[in-house]
């Protein structure tokens, strides 16, 4: 594995997380390929998002719905003060294809503030990255929450 691939992957993942924390939703969606999918399975054993229960299984159209909803002035649950802070680490490049495509695993911690309440999420990212002009695009972002099977205290509003 080249040091450059490792470095590029890490930088990409950090920027991905920063776009979420900065609420730059359209820029974040634009990280995805035209057929890109954001997937959060309810159980780590799942092999595909297709035809299965999913916490998230969104293509770019559904991502657009979520973004437009969050930005709507009457998204009641998004009115109170809220924000997130991601930390991404333990980045492992699992596969590097000759054409530059990568499969990258990493771990994340995410703190979320809503009103005065803090929630804490953690888990594993698996990114299938396509080499593109000026960097990468996401073909698949798989998010395995450590608490995927535990009851959710309130719900998730935007992508983790």
């Amino acid at each position: 594995m080249s040091v450059k691939a490792q470095h590029d992957a890490e930088q990409f993942l950090y920027r991905q997380a920063a776009l979420l924390d900065d609420k730059r939703w359209q820029d974040w969606i634009d990280l995805f390929t035209a057929d890109g999918v954001y997937w959060m399975p309810p159980d780590a054993s799942y092999q595909t998002w297709d035809g299965q229960p999913a916490i998230f299984a969104e293509d770019r159209d559904l991502m657009a719905v979520r973004m437009k909803r969050v930005l709507h002035p009457d998204a009641w649950s998004q009115k109170p003060l809220w924000g997130t802070n991601h930390v991404v680490s333990n980045v492992i490049v699992d596969k590097a294809a000759k054409n530059g495509d990568l499969v990258v695993r990493s771990r994340f911690h995410m703190l979320e503030l809503r009103r005065d309440d803090v929630r804490h999420f953690a888990g594993q990212y698996t990114h299938h990255l396509k080499k593109a002009k000026g960097g990468y695009r996401i073909k698949l972002q798989r998010v395995d929450m450590t608490n995927a099977q535990a009851a959710y205290d309130y719900v998730l509003q935007v992508w983790v």
Binding site: I55, A64, K68, R69
Partner: protein, 441 residues
């Protein structure tokens, strides 16, 4: 004490309003658990959840931890999740397979799947001449007083007496008939995933919301509008957006006045039905292929009857909300006066083509997952509602919309024509609540 503060619970409920303490008082909550949840029929699970002998799942009824387990005789049992020896919890996992028998993790007492004592280590040496042994029922795991199942949906009552399950369900059993009849094979099977979400509000606030036809166009406007915009974009590009977009956009495109075209039917024990649906019978190739399979299974006339059933939502008091045309079921488990767990399941229509499963799956994921685009705003409102009720800013919750204009026939209260947003379901639920609580047993 509750006695001093509220000497007569029946005074908390008037025909068109309810005292706020009903939602916020911890002692009233304890009484509700005793007099409602731990007496009447509460949903435990679906038989297909425990297909093999030894399969079990835990279930909470009121404050009682129970197990739904499949026996070797193929029967389904509901037992207290408790070892009769020292009171240890028997199964520590949420679900699993217990093998040939239950074995307590503390002193290795073992029990059959129906709860009967099987063995105690060195039973003869340790217990000869004592009152303990296989003949003493106190040495077996305690069973739920009554267990009945209807079309695969298992309910338990923790009281020896009371109405049978079918007497209790009455007309609300249509939730299960409508769901199962839509399957060419006449039955459904569970999709093995449960979405569980905690609400920080009283359990009744959730139940009252389920048939509240006024709230969708207010609460879900943001998602409805967003989905409608994207739906139009997709239609422009490809001709037709998937039906799942319509399921979301209908929250905005069905305007407040149109929700009055719906109707609610309100039954004894607090059960209610909301009729009308947002166009789930389109004429696309997937639907037509499904109708063909249905014709084969039932004939044309019966298929028309089945697919013509006009139900949006069935509420089975005190803790089940069923959307039968979409095969979704939400079980409500009160955890405390201001904390409620919902367990949300999806069912597959046996014998129906794959696209029909995927259609209702899309609804399950978009509306009912922990990343829901819809319930997020409901939960926000439930929390705000509970916060306000816990304050001294007022004493009553009002349910006056279209009060006095309901039509009562043979004990069933129908909302009047073009009064679909009537608060009749809330009035009916609270009337039933007062009856349950007044029984005082």
């Amino acid at each position: 004490m509750l006695q001093e503060r509220i000497p007569d619970l029946s005074q908390c409920v008037e025909p068109d309003r309810v005292r706020k303490e009903v939602y916020t008082d911890p002692q009233i909550f304890e009484l509700e658990m005793q007099r409602i949840h731990e007496r009447y029929w509460v949903y435990c699970g679906h038989e297909s959840q425990v297909p093999k002998p030894g399969d079990y799942t835990t279930v909470q009824i009121g404050r009682q931890p129970l197990l739904l387990v499949r026996g070797k005789d193929k029967g389904v049992h509901v037992l207290y999740n408790r070892c009769p020896h020292r009171g240890n919890m028997m199964c520590g996992d949420r679900h699993g397979n217990t093998g040939e028998f239950f074995r307590c993790s503390y002193h290795a007492w073992t029990f059959q799947h129906d709860g009967m004592l099987r063995s105690i280590p060195m039973m003869e040496a340790g217990y000869a001449g004592t009152r303990y042994g296989k003949d003493n029922p106190d040495c077996s795991m305690k069973k739920a007083a009554r267990v009945e199942s209807y079309r695969g949906f298992v309910f338990a009552s923790l009281a020896e007496d009371g109405p049978t399950l079918l007497e209790f369900l009455g007309a609300s059993k249509i939730a299960f008939d409508d769901m199962c009849d839509r399957a060419p094979a006449g039955e459904v099977e569970i999709v093995p995933n449960c979405f569980r979400v905690i609400q920080h509000s009283n359990w009744k606030i959730f139940l009252e919301n389920q048939l509240d036809a006024l709230h969708p166009s207010v609460v879900h406007q943001s998602t409805g509008r967003a989905a409608h915009e994207v739906e139009k974009d997709i239609a422009k590009k490809t001709g037709k957006a998937p039906l799942s977009y319509h399921m979301l956009s209908a929250f905005a495109t069905v305007t407040i006045d149109k929700w009055d075209n719906f109707q609610t039917l309100n039954y004894p024990y607090g059960h209610c039905i909301l009729t009308g649906y947002m166009g789930l019978r389109p004429k696309d190739p997937d639907t037509l292929a499904y109708e063909k399979v249905m014709h084969k299974a039932y004939g044309k006339a019966r298929t028309e009857e089945i697919l013509g059933v006009n139900i949006h939502h069935v509420l089975i008091y005190p803790g089940l909300s069923v959307q039968s045309p979409l095969q979704q079921l939400r079980a409500v488990r009160p955890l405390g006066v201001d904390k409620t767990l919902t367990e949300i399941w999806h069912f597959r229509l046996k014998g129906a083509p794959e696209p029909i499963y995927r259609r209702s799956l899309a609804y399950y994921n978009l509306v009912n997952s922990p990343a829901t685009l819809i319930n997020a705003d409901d939960l926000e409102n439930f929390w705000k509602c509970h916060q306000g009720l816990a304050s001294d800013g007022g004493d009553w919750v009002s349910f006056g919309r279209f009060h006095g204009r309901d039509i009562e026939k043979n004990g069933v209260v129908e909302t009047g024509p073009n009064m679909g947003t009537s608060e009749a379901p809330m009035r009916n639920q609270m009337k039933a609540w007062a009856d349950y609580m007044g029984s005082g047993r």
